[in-house]
């Protein structure tokens, strides 16, 4: 007779001393783990619920300005420094970790229209309604000294926007024309116009650094090459674009915020039809900024909300609002991809988390693993109706919700009418126009 009976030595399964961690022998045999899918689904549901529970995106509010914020700029080198300009011509430099204003400059008379920092981070430029372009030192002046600009250029017309070149000592401004300045000279080295009387925004391409894009008041977005004397091409849309932002990773894409409540992502090489139309705002979109990873962007709107869109999705993944936040004028995504800054009409700059439920601070390894696992679970079960409903739900202010409903109804009515017209007319005479193609009027070379 040969016999063997299961007999375990407890020493192999119990920790030796109380200072050890517990032994956890595993056996991955699927028959020992029944209801895999159902249990995983339950975990995913819990993770989704917890994500909503922990979604507390508001971090801080920076107050100190005495008028509405008109523009915000990130520091090119320092994560903790942010500059902001207000409608009374004041510029403030903020320290984010300490959440306080470190410097205040009365830069202009009237609005500060634009701020940008130099690529080296040693100085910054401001433009204002007083037709001047001023360059300031980033370091504050010594004790008892007056705040004096390093350089002042007096322009002929009001300047509405400014952006600095990525590597060279040139910058571009926009107003009645788009002007390229050399830092050493007081008159523009190049000046572009294309039958337009005013521009609202100009941005350098972050990769092809000689390229520029601007939003004009004739409902167009114009592309330029700094090395040429004439603009490259422009696309005319049904409504005016307010600002635009280049995708920092795929720099042939740019997104512009439009007055018709939408944002449009264009491929620079193919302007005939936008790559994507991003809808969700219920009022004009005033500003847009990409995350440094180029996967998402944030938009600020006149409807008192800011929204975060994935770059290839038509609808937003997140909406932020507070009771006190008024029309949001400007918004920036911080360079560490963690925060979003928004400046609004009621004189406050607000700091938000880019990922609403993310835990701030140092995470332990187990916390990180758990967070990653939960993220993957939510992704895996995202299409299940129950998970989807919880993950998608956002509380909205009453008037935003009302307007959303109203607009949905209007859209539905329009669609219904078009369908009826199509039904009762000659086949082919009322073509189906995709949403993307509806908004482009013309492309000019």
């Amino acid at each position: 007779m040969k016999v063997k009976v299961l007999c375990r030595n407890p020493d192999d399964y119990v920790r030796e001393t109380t200072r050890d961690i517990q032994r956890v022998p595993r056996n991955y045999d699927p028959t020992l783990h029944p209801f895999e899918v159902a249990r995983e689904y339950t975990r995913a549901l819990n993770a989704t619920k917890l994500e909503r529970v922990f979604a507390k995106p508001f971090v801080a509010s920076l107050d100190g300005h005495r008028d509405g914020i008109s523009c915000i700029a990130k520091h090119a080198k320092s994560l903790s420094t942010v500059l902001s300009g207000a409608c009374d011509g004041e510029v403030k430099v903020w320290n984010l970790p300490r959440r306080e204003c470190v410097r205040t400059i009365q830069a202009h008379e009237g609005f500060v229209r634009g701020i940008c920092t130099r690529f080296c981070g040693t100085s910054f430029f401001t433009v204002g309604d007083d037709k001047t372009i001023k360059q300031w030192n980033m370091d504050p002046p010594g004790h008892g000294l007056q705040e004096e600009p390093l350089n002042t250029i007096l322009g002929k017309a009001v300047v509405t926007g400014i952006d600095h070149h990525q590597r060279e000592a040139t910058f571009a401004t926009c107003g009645q024309t788009v002007d390229i300045y050399d830092e050493q000279r007081s008159s523009p080295i190049r000046s572009f116009s294309w039958g337009v009387d005013s521009f609202s925004c100009v941005r350098y391409n972050p990769v092809e650094t000689e390229l520029l894009a601007s939003c004009a008041s004739d409902r167009s977005v114009v592309l330029y090459d700094m090395r040429e004397s004439t603009p490259l091409r422009k696309v005319v849309m049904t409504m005016r674009s307010n600002t635009l932002c280049w995708n920092p990773m795929e720099a042939y894409y740019f997104t512009c915020s439009n007055e018709d409540y939408n944002l449009y992502t264009y491929d620079m090489r193919y302007l005939k039809c936008p790559v994507n139309v991003h809808m969700d705002h219920v009022s004009a979109v005033l500003d847009v900024d990409y995350s440094p990873t180029g996967r998402e962007f944030v938009s600020a709107s006149f409807d008192k909300t800011i929204r975060i869109f994935p770059k290839d999705k038509g609808h937003s993944r997140e909406v932020y609002h507070t009771k006190r936040m008024q029309h949001v004028i400007c918004v920036r995504w911080s360079s560490d991809n963690k925060y979003v800054l928004s400046g609004s009409d009621e004189m406050n700059i607000r700091l938000w988390k880019a990922n609403a439920s993310e835990k701030l601070g140092v995470l332990s390894a187990r916390e990180k693993i758990a967070a990653n696992y939960n993220k993957k679970l939510i992704e895996k079960f995202q299409h299940h109706p129950h998970v989807k409903r919880i993950a998608r739900h956002r509380h909205l202010p009453r008037d935003v919700l009302k307007q959303k409903k109203q607009q949905r109804e209007m859209k539905e009515a329009r669609r219904r009418k078009e369908q009826n017209v199509r039904k009762h007319s000659k086949p082919g005479s009322v073509p189906l126009v995709p949403e993307k193609e509806k908004h482009v009027v013309a492309v000019l070379e």
Binding site: V3, K4, V5, L6, Q22, Y28, D29, P30, V37, T42
Partner: protein, 594 residues
Amino acid sequence: MAALLEDAAKGAHVERKTNKKPVKRYWEKTEDLKNSDQNTSHRSISTEKTADRSTATENTGSVKRRKGRRIPSGKQDPFPGEAPIPQEQLQKYQRGSKHNVPKGSERRLKEAIAWSEKVSELAQKQAARYDLLLPEDAGFLEGDEDEDTCRISQEDIADAVDITSGSKFFNLHLSQFGPYRLDYSRTGRHLLLSGRRGHVACIEWQSKNLTCEMNVMETVNDIKWLHTEAMFAVAQKKWLYIYDSEGIELHCVKKFNDVLKMQFLPYHFMLATASATGFLQYLDVSVGKEVAAICTKAGRLDVMSQNPYNAVIHLGHSNGTVSLWSPNQKEPLVKMLCHRGAVRSLTVDKTGTYMVTSGLDRKLKVYDIRALKPLHSYFLPAGASYLSLSQKGLLSAATGDIVQVYQNVWGGSPVSKPYMAHRVRGQVWGLAYCPFEDVLGVGHGEGFTSMIVPGAGEPNFDALDTNPYRSAKQMQEWEVKALLEKVQPELIGLDPGQLGKVDQGSFEQRHKERVDILGYDPLAKEKFKPKSKKKGRSSAGSIEKRKRKVAYEDHRDVIRLNVEEKVKHQKEKSSESQQLGKKSTLDRFRKQDK
């Protein structure tokens, strides 16, 4: 021979190269290098040569690097690549079949499917490789030549094995409160005993430590552990009671009356009870609510089992049928006729594939309950009153006062004799295998017997699921985790993986709705639009001709299909007629197969 020649040729080739001296640099120690190189194989020299030619400045450095990578002896790695995994091990961790990429699907979808396939394959391989690290092997019992394993007595086995294992064979003489039911906890550490006449005891059976003992002064029909060793449910004469491990009555659940049998669904935290009034009731023990009460309309329910794979409750009835129930449906999921007489006992294996039933017709039947087909039918002279399946698939059947254990009941060939047998003192009343141990507990009229059945238990447990050696702290943590991932009763159904599958029906429905909204079918084949050609080839006539061509092509496909079908049909017909032709008039008296 050819290989030898080749070698010789290679040698000559290298020789010729070495004759051509490279330009000597002042930093090189060429003499030493060359000597050592000639000792090693040809390849290193040739590599040195190539490196030499490409970048003369990096010469010495590159040679050194190459040398470092090679095995010093110059031999080849005898086991190149990753270690192979046996097919059956891989099979064990296979979850479903591979996804096919639907034709004409988006690039992104294709990539996503390919990626997920890759990841799951990696997971499968890693899990299969982990099998090597499992610490324990399953037990076994082998007789000598001309010795049946079923003739080996328990005493012999207990003597043959080590003391700890030997002590697992023991008898408890409890003749006063007669026949005993039993239940092992999920970790296999604790044992519950309940005598028909009210005796309830819970024992840490390996240390023989009595944690609580009492008499409820009522008839006890059944007893079951709840999710931990801290609580158990007792079906008494009238109502269902819940006690804690000290024997203190926690609840008297008066909604559950005349309960005869109970099953605990550990992942759903539900206690399913079958009553004498024909009700199947579910109690959620985490919140204390009745989840469902189903009137089965099948009389007294005293045969019950759960399918551990999908938490479906199997009930055996007095008319020979077995019905499958989920709490979400007032009707049985499946109802199958298994026996000519009443069903006496049934049990389901842990993979949810096989069900074993025994009936008053003295038959023991094995069913495949995925296909709902009988596999084997055995005749037991005395009939089996109780059945139980172990984690490793050993079947124990109680016939009167004899407990028989069978091996390989659902294998290819039918079983002829038992693997083990043991006679106890009284009529068997309860039968259960201890999880993760080679032990079978038998409750009978004269008490309780613990039998050693080598090869019954799963040798390797998963400590995150059920850990027999868990500490108090670990148990607390496990309880919280288990409660957090409690599976909702709505998810109980025949296929537990349903949730992870694509809902095909609703896709069709959605497509239909989409067509209604759009007013056209977005997935439909596009109408052929002829290209405009130059040099007069785009005349109305030629365009029409091209259109016809395509139309004919489509038409031809349809015709081809039709013809194929017709040919197939004809073949079938002819084969039928051939069979008919062989038929004689006397065939009508033959017994019909169907």
